[in-house]
């Protein structure tokens, strides 16, 4: 199995509900623990497994062919802003360099489902794995001095006491826009595999060679809407036009 998320950049509204749900589930859980520091003070901060960042893309002709104008006419991008909200958590990479650099063996990738986890009883808090992660997925728990990261809610997804539809990561269940999907990428018929195939993945620092498991589904290409009305010339159209003209006399 190769478990992971598919995150739809088209439908994500950037509400941070996934991050809050994550914090709520993992804040006190056995695997997790995501403390806040100075939570009610002037500069509140904390450890989060999932952070949502908001970006603006200006003048990408792929996503605005009809409103942007042709790039060949002007030779440069026309200004048009597209906003994408990018929730980022652990990608559970196939080539997880965070695991290979770990000197203590606290970071590991499970053979059975590909989830990357940290064993807090071995972690010495050297931050080296966070340095090796290009996606900023790892954050130190300053209270316990050990590294924390997305566990893909490993304590939910196998829990036989939960109803089957709830055996999913907390972020997926919370997403009000259904922008997050969970599944097995090794199964070509799983929802996430089909979505990734149909929509395409965004390439996020792929040249570093980490092979992220999570897929960021590319925003759909806008469909061009024709502004001129279609001219029809069937017999019924002629009759209708004739009647219309009579009425308007």
């Amino acid at each position: 199995m190769r478990l992971g998320l598919a995150i739809d950049l088209d439908t994500c509204v950037g509400c941070h509900a996934c991050a809050v749900a994550c914090k709520e589930w993992n804040g006190e859980s056995l695997m997790g623990g995501a403390p806040d520091y100075d939570a009610w003070g002037k500069a509140p901060t904390g450890t989060w497994y999932n952070r949502i960042r908001h970006f603006e893309i200006e003048g990408d002709p792929t996503y605005s062919p009809h409103r942007c104008g042709s790039t060949s006419e002007t030779g440069k991008h026309e200004p048009l802003s597209k906003t994408v909200n990018v929730p980022m958590s652990c990608m559970h990479c196939e080539e997880a360099h965070c695991v290979t650099v770990c000197p203590t063996g606290a970071s590991y990738k499970r053979a059975e489902d590909g989830i990357v986890l940290v064993d807090p009883s071995r972690c010495m808090g050297c931050n080296y794995c966070a340095w090796a992660c290009p996606y900023g997925a790892r954050e130190l728990d300053e209270n316990k001095g050990v590294m924390k990261k997305c566990t893909l809610c490993v304590d939910r997804i196998y829990d036989q006491q939960l109803p089957e539809e709830e055996r999913q990561p907390a972020c997926v269940l919370a997403c009000p826009a259904h922008a997050r999907h969970f599944g097995d990428y090794d199964d070509p018929q799983s929802k996430v595999s089909l979505l990734a195939d149909a929509r395409g993945r965004q390439s996020m620092l792929d040249d570093l060679g980490y092979k992220p498991t999570n897929a960021y589904l590319s925003p759909r290409k806008p469909v061009e809407i024709k502004t001129e009305l279609p001219i029809k010339s069937g017999l019924s159209d002629k009759a209708r036009a004739f009647v219309n003209r009579l009425i308007q006399l």
Partner: protein, 304 residues
């Protein structure tokens, strides 16, 4: 990257100690050229041990959970940090064996232990460099120049320390000649540092690569947090350009040029080695402060 003082001190201090150990051991073989009595050898060995040990202790200061540090010796198959720690720990029993063989008179053993110690010291320096050099996430470090710098600068500062140690010899041995190895390595170090400044990888990734929107301008609207995070604290350190330029010149002058002049024209070897180490501390601080991690692209930086 955040320039953590404990790591900066560790790499410079242990580097100088390992370099001194290498040259001290090689000097002990050259009895005809370098007349070093046993007391001076032990003084030098004590200084090297002090520098190495102080560095290694300092390196544990930045650990958030020190009680698990013992596990750091277990993943030497994949992790350069583990390899470095394991080799550094192996250094002590081997050095003890070497000293014991010298002291109790087993003449067949010291040549083996000596060259093993030399190889081990250089291997430790290489591992320290590879801890940083292997990170693909910090393009500025991900070059062969990084481990080369760590090995060469360690050997270089050790070579400058050796004549300082030799100046502790009794007066009847006579004056110290020109320390040609120190001068050679200082010149080589200067060339390598300038090469690194000119040739290190830069602007390898853009914010477009980070998000996969290959065309158009991408900019951060909102980072999603109101105050600093672990990530901004660890990777967000930005150095002002004019300050960096000033520090770079201080590093070039203190680490290479002044010790070179002092070694060539004077016998002030303690001054030369102290200034060299100060310069290397500045160089190492810059090494961290100037390095940009690719996660900065997700915080709005346009290129790394």
């Amino acid at each position: 990257m955040k320039p953590a003082l404990s790591v900066i001190f560790f790499t410079v201090s242990s580097g100088a100690g390992l370099g001194l150990l290498v040259w001290l051991l090689i000097a002990s073989l050259m009895g005809n050229h370098i007349r070093m009595d046993a007391t001076t050898f032990y003084k030098g060995a004590a200084l090297a041990a002090l520098l190495i040990t102080a560095g290694l202790i300092s390196s544990t200061l930045h650990l958030a959970n020190r009680k698990n540090a013992i596990y750091a010796l277990t993943r030497f198959k994949t992790s350069w940090l583990s390899r470095e720690g394991l080799l550094a720990v192996l250094l002590y029993p081997l050095a003890a064996l070497h000293l014991a063989a010298l002291h109790f008179g087993y003449p067949q053993l010291p040549p083996i232990t000596l060259w093993t110690l030399v190889a081990l010291s250089i291997a430790i320096l290489y591992c320290t460099g590879m801890i940083y050099g292997c990170l693909r996430t910090v393009p500025r470090w991900n070059t062969w120049l990084t481990p080369a710098k760590y090995v060469l600068f360690g050997l270089m500062s050790g070579a400058v320390l050796l004549p300082a140690v030799l100046s502790l010899r009794p007066a009847e041995v006579g004056p110290i000649g020109k320390p040609m190895m120190a001068i050679f390595l200082l010149a080589l170090g200067l060339i390598l540092y300038l090469a690194y400044l000119l040739k290190h990888p830069r602007n390898t990734h853009t914010i477009n690569d980070a998000l996969g929107f290959k065309q158009g301008n991408v900019r951060l609207l909102d980072a999603g947090h109101s105050h600093g995070t672990f990530l901004t604290n660890e990777f967000g350190f930005v150095l002002a350009r004019d300050k960096a330029r000033l520090l770079r010149w201080i590093a070039i002058v203190c680490a290479f040029i002044v010790p070179l002049v002092l070694c060539w024209f004077t016998k002030a070897f303690w001054a030369a080695s102290s200034i060299c180490i100060v310069g290397l501390l500045v160089e190492r601080w810059l090494f961290f402060a100037e390095a940009a991690h690719v996660v900065r692209l997700y915080h709005g930086q346009q290129r790394v």
